[in-house]
Each structure stands twice: as structure tokens, then as C-alpha cells.
Amino acid sequence: MLLLIERESLSMSNPFENTEGIAKRTMVLFFVVDTSGSMAGKKIGAVNDAIFNVLPEIRKISEDNADAEIKIAAITFSNGAKWLYDEPKPADEFSWPYVNADGMTDLGEAYRMLNEKLSRNAFMNDVEGSYAPAIFLMTDGEPTDDYKKELDRLNQNKWFRVAIKVAVAIGEKDDVNDEVLTEFTGTPEAVLRAHTPEALAKMIRLVSVTASKIGSQSSTVGQESRQKTFTEELNKQQQEWQPVNSADDEDEEWN
């Protein structure tokens, strides 16, 4: 009893006890989703289902990670671009609204808006030592605006440079320009192709889960190191479900 009182009084007298502002670090996962007309039908349906279904897993990774909180931000682009929420939402507060597809493919506008928010004064303001973000682009077509100019600007952004970047090409090689996606990720190894709705669902799950795990790990040396760790893990995971993916060839295709 005496020991307990002594411990309590010692703890009460600790002058550091009233220190303010202690918080967990945050990792933001960005979904950048093409909602142009060519995505209408099965493609946008598969994206909607896959993001909706992967959210519980991301919430679980965030809950299980005692050192970091995962937040989610999402932007869609067609005629222009728009954020789903005006700030990144904690994984357990983020809900996916089932978006529709229509219009052009203004990828450049999405890049411009992403660049604006990748800043300490915008979406990266949470905790002093926020983790580098993970940015996940999903598209099925050629950009219809001047995306190169905005990508050049984005490439100057410090947060973008250290981010994990990954892209999924939805559809066949003739439909999607891989070069555009490689320009975004910086490496062809981080560009995946979904030939079927089933493969797309698996990829969205795989990428979201892997990015959330790798992205919220401790410090790493060099700007490219985390992207490299991510692509290595992604390729390893992909090989593991490749046999299943092969069987998917017999699954329903996009058209």
C-alpha cells in the first residue's frame, strides 16, 4: 500500500507529466481513381466493389499498428477532378460512396490537385513526423489534358518524391498507355495490369494492404528505398497468387 502511494506521488510530481501535443504518427493512403466515360460499366463497378471490400482490412492494419494511424484520401478525375473529402479520414471513418463514370480523362488536373494537398499546410499536417504517403492510381485510358506539365510539378514535390507510388492499368495493353503510368510511379515494376474484374479486385486489395503495411514502417535510408521495398514485396505477393490469376484468364473480361 505504502509502495503504491509512493509510486503515485512520484508520478504526480513528474514535471513532464503535463506535456501537451503527444500524438501517433499518420500514414495517408491516397486513392486516385479514373471516373471517365471509358470506365463506365464493369470497370467502375469492379473498382467500387474492390475499394469498398478492402476498407475493413485497412482499418484492421491501422488498429493493429500501435505506432501509426492510417488515414485515407481519395480523388476522382474525369471532367476535372474532385476530392471525396476535404481532409484525409481515419480508416474507420472513411467510406467509399460508389462513384459513377462519365466524361473525359483529366489526369493532369488530378495531379495538380494532388500536388496542392501534398503539403504540410494541407493534407500532410497531422503529426510532425508523418510517414511518407502511399499513392495508388487506377485508370483505363489516355489522359485528355496536359498531364505532363502537372506531373513535372508533382515530381518537384518532396512528399511525392518519397511516396510509395503504384498504378493499376485497367484493361488490355491497347487501351491503356503503360508509359503514362510508369511516368507516374517512376518504375515499370510498380505498374500492374488488370485484365479482368476479378484480377482488378485482387490487385486493389494487394496494393492497398501492402502499401499500408510497408508505408507505416520505421525510417528508411534514401528517397527511393521505400518504393523499392514496396515493389519487391508487391512482386513477391503477386507471384504467390499468380497461379490463381492465370485461372482468371477464363473469367469474365471487361467487354
Binding site: 513532464f16 501535443g21 503529426v127 518532396k158 518519397v162 525510417s219
Partner: protein
């Protein structure tokens, strides 16, 4: 009597305890004649840097050894506009650290258990005796205060600043590219180019530094700086051992509620002010 005293505190991170991982931070302070110095180092957490706790200790030891020799032969007159002397000090620290690493590796070659979690490519490099220093990768901050000057040097993340007598704060310049969980390291071949320093004439009221786990436990830089100021104030007004004990207790709680990382704080106090 030397009015300068050093202090240093390191606690193992809550995340390291949960994952049964060693503490990868190290800190130390020392008095050298009329000068005093302190250093902290943060070994990288990734599996590739599996001896980073040892690397952090080597970094602090190498830095304090080189700084001791440096402050013995230099003074505020010889250090005016002497960037080349600080460049040489940086090179000496890097060289001393690499020597310690090579010596340690020679007597403790990598075991199969250590290499097993690595990628095939990295494993083959290390087995071939290449890139061995990468296993010991760490950051480093070191500072020394003399009778009428102070300097700080930093490689990688973390922070170091001085509270001056006029109420202003001076800090070691940071690399712009260090955002998110990205750092530079002593183990990189271009480490010298990432090693920054500040030199100021006049002795400050205190110099304080921390590894990144401390700042990463705060919602804003201002909250972090207030905390660092509070540490200086407590060390200046209360017995050193009591403050050290209180700080260790608090940091152990803070890592749980904050970054989960190992936490180190060290500094030099000037009782003349």
C-alpha cells in the same frame, strides 16, 4: 570550475518492446577540460540494418572521440570562418565510425540467422564482404560547447538546437529532402555530403538534441520545442539525477502514446547563465 555539464537519456521504444527488438538508439555526454559535448544516434529500424544498434553506439563513440581532439586544439579564434576544419572533423568521424564497423565485423562475421531475412541480392553482397557498413546504418548528431562558442553537426533525421542567452534559438540546418520517414545515413558512400553543421560564437544557455522519435511523438513542431525547452529548464533548476529519472520515466510513457520509437535526448547545460 567548468560551468558546463552534459546529460543524456535513452529509452527503448514501445514498438521495439512489443516486437522484442533491441534498442537502436544511443546517447552519451562528456566534459573535456573547459568544454562539454553530447551526442545521439538512431540506428535504422529496417531489417537490412540488423546491426544498427551497434552502429549507433559506434557513431556516438567515434563522434565524441573526434570532437574531444578537436576542442583540445581549437578555440573561438581558430574556428572563425573555418568551414574546412569542420569538414575535416566530419571526415574524421565518418572514418572512425567505419574503422569501428570493420573491426567489429572482423571479429563478429554475419551469422546465417542475421542474413536469413534479407533479399537474395543483399545477402550475396554481404556474404561477399560488400556493403558491410550498411548493416550498421545510423544517423548521428553531435554538439560541443566551449567557453565562448558552440557547434553542432548532424547527419540524418533528428534535431539539435541551442537556446541563446538573448532568448533566440539557433539550430543545425536540416536537409530539405528529409520528409516522411526518409533519412540519410552514416552508412552511405556520400555520407560526408549529408553532414551539416552550425558554428556560433558565444556560449549558449544550453544545447539540446534528440533523435527523430521524440519529435515524431508530437502533433506540431511547437509542442516539440516547448518540450525541449522544458527539459532544459528542469535540468537547470532541479538536481540532475532527479530530472534524469523523471525524464526517463516520462519518455517511457511518451513512446507508448507517441511514435513507439526509441527515444534519446542529450545536451549541454551552461550553469553560468
Amino acid at each position: 570550475m567548468n560551468p558546463l555539464t552534459g546529460f543524456h537519456v535513452t529509452v527503448r521504444g514501445a514498438s521495439h518492446i512489443r516486437h522484442n527488438a533491441d534498442c537502436q538508439d544511443y546517447s552519451k555526454s562528456a566534459c573535456f577540460g573547459s568544454a562539454a559535448a553530447a551526442a545521439v544516434a538512431d540506428g535504422h529500424g529496417d531489417v537490412r540494418y540488423f546491426r544498427s544498434g551497434t552502429g549507433a553506439r559506434f557513431a556516438v563513440e567515434a563522434a565524441l572521440k573526434s570532437v574531444r581532439e578537436f576542442v583540445k586544439r581549437e578555440n573561438s579564434e581558430t574556428l572563425k570562418n573555418a568551414d574546412e576544419k569542420f569538414d575535416q572533423l566530419k571526415k574524421n568521424i565518418i572514418l572512425n565510425w567505419n574503422r569501428k564497423v570493420v573491426r567489429h565485423y572482423s571479429s563478429h562475421p554475419f551469422s546465417s540467422e542475421e542474413l536469413e531475412p534479407l533479399s537474395e541480392r543483399r545477402r550475396s553482397f554481404l556474404e561477399g564482404g560488400k556493403l558491410i557498413e550498411s548493416a550498421y546504418g545510423t544517423t548521428l548528431i553531435v554538439s560541443a560547447v566551449g567557453a565562448d562558442y558552440w557547434f553542432g553537426m548532424q547527419l540524418g533525421d533528428g534535431d539539435c538546437f541551442a537556446f541563446n542567452r538573448d532568448g533566440t534559438v539557433s539550430s543545425v540546418p536540416r536537409e530539405d529532402s528529409l520528409v516522411g520517414n526518409v533519412t540519410t545515413s552514416l552508412c552511405e558512400s556520400d555520407a560526408f555530403y549529408h553532414f551539416h553543421h552550425i558554428y556560433c560564437a558565444g556560449s549558449p544557455a544550453a544545447v539540446i538534441m534528440s533523435t527523430d522519435g521524440v519529435k515524431n511523438s508530437f502533433s506540431s513542431f511547437n509542442c516539440y520545442r516547448d518540450f525541449m525547452e522544458k527539459i532544459v529548464s528542469e535540468f537547470s533548476s532541479s538536481p540532475c539525477q532527479t530530472t534524469k529519472k523523471n525524464l526517463m520515466e516520462f519518455l517511457s510513457e511518451m513512446t507508448e502514446k507517441g511514435s513507439g520509437d526509441d527515444l534519446s535526448v542529450a545536451g549541454v547545460l551552461n550553469s553560468a547563465y
